[in-house]
C-alpha cells in the first residue's frame, strides 16, 4: 500500500502539479513539499508528492547510487 513512483514536474499550478510519469501525464498535489520547481523529480503516493529532488541533484544522486552499487 505504501507504493510510490517517481515522476518529473512539467507544470505547477498553485498546490498542484502536472507530472510526467514515464510518458503519462498525471495531476498531483505538491502541498507536502517546499519550493518545488519545474524539472524536479518527485516521488508520488496516492496522488501526493511526498519527496522531491532537484533535477541536477537527482542526476547526481542516481549516478552516485549506481557507482556505489558497482563498487560495492
Amino acid at each position: 500500500m505504501c507504493l510510490a513512483i517517481p515522476g518529473k514536474v512539467l507544470e505547477i499550478n498553485g498546490d498542484k502539479g502536472l507530472i510526467d510519469i514515464s510518458g503519462m501525464k498525471v495531476e498531483t498535489f505538491l502541498n507536502l513539499l517546499e519550493d518545488v520547481k519545474i524539472g524536479d523529480y518527485i516521488l508520488i503516493h496516492a496522488g501526493f508528492a511526498i519527496e522531491r529532488l532537484p533535477e541536477e541533484e537527482a542526476m547526481e544522486r542516481f549516478k552516485l547510487f549506481k557507482e556505489m552499487e558497482i563498487l560495492g
Partner: protein, 358 residues
C-alpha cells in the same frame, strides 16, 4: 541474476559463516518489500542461515477485526457514501460480511485513489455524509491529513473519516520485545521512511541493539541492505543506515509530518494479531474530532475476536509462514479469502500463494 547481485552474494556468504548464530532472522515491515522479496526469489539465493520474515507491513491486514466490522456497519447507515482505497473492499469482517458484499447489496461504496476525491464527492453530494476509511501508515497519512485541511478550507461539513491509520515504529518495538520471534535486524520500510526519516528507528539500535537498514525496492536494494545488516552484526554494532539514499533523507519530510500532527495525535491502537500497541495509532485532534465517522454510529464498536482458524496473527508476527496455516491454499485462496493476509495483494498469504515460495 545480475552480476552485481552475484558479487554481493559472494560477500555475504563468508560473513554469514563467521557469525555464530545458527539462524539469523531479518524482518521486513513493508508490504512492498514482502512482494519484492518473494517475486525476486531472493530467499533462494541467500545462505540457508538467513531467514527473511515478513512482519505487519500491510495496513489492510493489521486493521483490527473490530474496525473492519465498524466500517461495514457504517455502510448500513442511510445517506452515506463510503469511500476507500481498493484493498479494503474485500476484507471479511467477523461474520464473513465485507464491504464488497454490502456494495453488491446496494450500499454506496466507492473506490478512490486520492483522499481529496472524497472531499470533492462530499461537496457534490451535500445531502449525503461522505466517509473515507483512513487506513495506511506514515506514507499515506499526510495525504489524508491534507484532505481534512482541504475540507476545513472549503467548509465541507459532510466529510468524515474512519480513523484507523497506524505508525510503524511502536509495532517494531512490540515485535523486538517478543523473544519468540528473535529478530536480529530490520529491513526498514523505504517509503514510510521518506516521511519519518531515520530517527524514529534509532531506539531499536540504541536501546535494543538491533541493526536497521532503510531499504529501497529493487532486488539489489534488498541484497545490499541484507549485506549491511550482516556487517553490523559482524562488527557488533547497531545503527540505522539508509540504503534508499536517493529518496530518504535522515530528517525525513518535515513539512509532511507537520501536516500529520496538525490534524492527528497519537493514540493506542489495536493491531490484528499484535493486540493493543501504545502510541501506534492516530486519532483526530479535538478540534477536528467532529469529522470522526465512528460517531455517526450510535453504538460503541465492540472488539471482536479474530476469525476462527485464520492464523494471520502469527503470520503478521513472522512466527509461521503462510503455508503452515491449515487453511492456506485450499480453504483460503485469493479468490475465496478467509483472512486479510490473503485478501490484500501485499498480504503475506496472498504473496506466498502467488509466488509459491513456501
Amino acid at each position: 541474476m545480475s552480476e552485481i547481485i552475484k558479487e554481493y552474494i559472494k560477500k555475504i556468504s563468508p560473513i554469514c559463516k563467521m557469525l555464530e548464530e545458527k539462524e539469523i532472522s531479518f524482518m521486513e515491515v513493508c508490504g512492498t518489500h514482502t512482494m519484492a522479496i518473494s517475486k525476486s526469489g531472493i530467499r533462494d539465493i541467500l545462505p540457508e542461515k538467513i531467514r527473511l520474515i515478513s512482519g505487519p507491513g500491510c495496513p489492510v491486514c493489521v486493521t483490527s477485526p473490530g474496525d473492519i466490522d465498524g466500517m461495514i456497519k457504517l455502510s448500513d447507515l442511510p445517506d452515506v457514501i463510503i469511500t476507500t482505497f481498493g484493498d479494503m473492499i474485500r476484507v471479511p469482517g467477523s461474520n464473513r460480511n465485507s464491504l464488497e458484499i454490502k456494495k453488491a447489496d446496494g450500499a454506496d461504496i466507492r473506490i478512490i485513489y486520492n483522499p481529496v476525491e472524497a472531499v470533492d464527492m462530499a461537496e457534490k453530494n451535500s445531502d449525503k455524509k461522505v466517509i473515507f476509511l483512513a487506513v495506511g501508515f506514515e506514507t499515506t497519512v499526510p495525504g489524508i491529513a491534507s484532505a481534512i485541511i482541504e475540507a476545513e478550507k472549503r467548509k465541507t461539513e459532510n466529510f468524515f473519516i474512519y480513523p484507523a491509520n497506524k505508525v510503524i515504529p511502536p509495532a517494531m518495538r512490540a515485535l523486538v520485545m517478543d523473544k519468540q520471534i528473535g529478530i536480529k535486524g530490520f529491513i526498514c520500510p523505504g517509503h514510510v521512511s521518506v516521511i519519518t526519516g531515520a530517527n524514529p528507528y534509532r531506539f531499536l539500535a540504541e536501546d535494543y541493539g538491533i541493526p536497521c537498514v532503510i531499504a529501497g525496492f529493487e532486488p539489489l536494494d534488498i541484497i545490499i541492505s541484507i549485506y549491511k545488516l550482516l556487517l553490523q552484526l559482524h562488527e557488533k554494532r547497531a545503527s540505522v543506515e539508509i540504503e534508499y539514499s536517493p529518496w530518504v533523507r535522515p530528517e525525513g519530510n518535515i513539512k509532511a509530518r507537520d501536516i500529520i500532527y496538525k490534524i492527528f495525535k497519537e493514540c493506542d491502537a489495536v493491531w490484528r494479531g499484535l493486540g493493543v500497541i501504545p502510541g501506534s495509532g492516530l486519532s483526530l485532534k479535538e478540534e477536528y474530532s467532529y469529522r470522526d465517522g465512528r460517531k455517526l454510529l450510535k453504538e460503541e464498536i465492540p472488539s471482536v475476536p479474530e476469525t476462527a482458524g485464520c492464523r494471520c496473527g502469527e503470520v503478521l508476527k513472522g512466527l509461521i509462514r503462510p503455508p503452515e496455516c491449515e487453511l492456506f491454499g485450499h480453504v483460503c485462496t485469493p479468490v475465496n479469502p478467509v483472512g486479510p493476509c490473503m485478501v490484500s495483494s501485499e498480504g503475506s498469504c496472498s504473496v506466498y500463494y502467488k509466488y509459491s515460495d513456501g
